[in-house]
Amino acid sequence: MTSEVQGPPGRRSPAAAAVEWVGERVLEAGRAFVGVLALGGSVGRWAIRPPFRVESLFAQFDFVGVGSVVIVALTGLFTGMVFATQSWSAFERFGAESLVGPTVAITITRELAPVLSALMITMRAGSATCTELGTMRVTEQVDALETMAVSPVQYLLVPRVLAGMFMGPLLAMLFDTAGVFGGFTIAVLVKGLSVGTFVLRTQDIVGPDDVVEGLVKAAVFGLVVMLIACYRGYYASGGAKGVGQATTRAMVSSAVAVFILDYFLGLFFHG
């Protein structure tokens, strides 16, 4: 009778396999979380030690920030236009079209600009960073730096993480501008709302706090997504396949981290 309950030797029940699978994923996520924190601490320590690599830092500002200008501006513009179109169709049912401007502006400055800018940084700069660092790791270029008495954390990671932290808010500001302009285009030029109504209602309701909230979030997101990309790339192993897997993991965990952090930062500002 017992053989029916236990099953054939060496085979597990689907429930046990599922529990094991979930457990492994949770452990892996926990290890990655601790690893990212530890690497973040190391980046922080090396960031304040000389030599300060200003040239590398500006090169990363250029790559992460300037290189993302077009994609962020386009995303912001169309996000604002879509949001204005949808909110117009909702608000006109009860004659509140004048609230389209502030609605678009608040949503974009507080939430959409930091979140979507961070996702753009992740996709564009994070993926490239992870792949570059991963390739350097598996071809021993990272080891070569260490043997030449150059800290790879300071040389490679510090400029990239700082670029994420400083360029995140600047890109979010660009997103804010493009998004509100997109909303303005739809509300005023397409739907016929007066310029005065759009501007005055937006000024009445949207304050500097809303913009600052978005910029703080953008700095945190920028730092975190670049740190995750660096972590995955820096510890990549297993040749080209391993680098590909590291990049996939970096993209997925960065996106998830942005949404989770967005919730907690929202609690911090409004909880």
Binding site: M136, T139, Q141, D143, A144, T147, M148, A149
Partner: protein, 250 residues
Amino acid sequence: MTGRRSMIEVRGLVRSFGEHQVLTGVDLEVAEGTTSVILGGSGSGKTVLIKHVIGLLKPDRGEVLIEGEDIVPLGDRELERVRRKFGMVFQGSALFDSMSVYENVAFPLREHTRLTEAEIRQRVAEKLALVDLHGIEEKYPADLSGGMRKRVGLARAIVRDPKIVLYDEPTTGLDPITTDYVDDMILTAKKKLGVTSVVISHDVASAFKVADRIAFLSDGKIVEHAPPAELRRSTHPVVQRFLSTWFGKN
């Protein structure tokens, strides 16, 4: 030993990765100005050993003394100081592929010296000439053959005139003529710069050509460490079997 002072000394080095014990108690001494080749089969732990010598890995137990200083307990900053005594040539060259040959070789000078650009240019040209490379400064690693990359890697390793040069499988994957050329480069570096060299290899012919002493790594331990002529007379079965692949059974 030869009576010269010890440059590298490894005592009772033990290192495991998970359940697998790779180094089970390595003892090794390399005298100043000599070339020691660490010979052993693939997966015997040669690269793990050399990474301990330069402080890229920390052992579970044991000591690694560089000019008498144990580097195992050192932190990042102190290790950087010790690593300035080293140059290392990697199996795959490990050249920075985003930099030209010139920038690669100049990199250690830019990081650790206050030389002017003209002095750096002169030093780079000198070291590239030492490894018989001319007019390739503006090329990128992807434009070079495997042998040329190895030589650029050697030029980068010796550009700051280090006391110790480590070679990780310098002849693996090269044709016989290029292998011979790389062997000559190792001998030239020793002769002209007086460096202490440690070469990781499974290439018996190269080992016998460049080594003052050969250490044989087997089962995570150095089972023989002797001049090449003495090693040929070794009675250790693994050493005998390994050498017979090159010298024949008799």
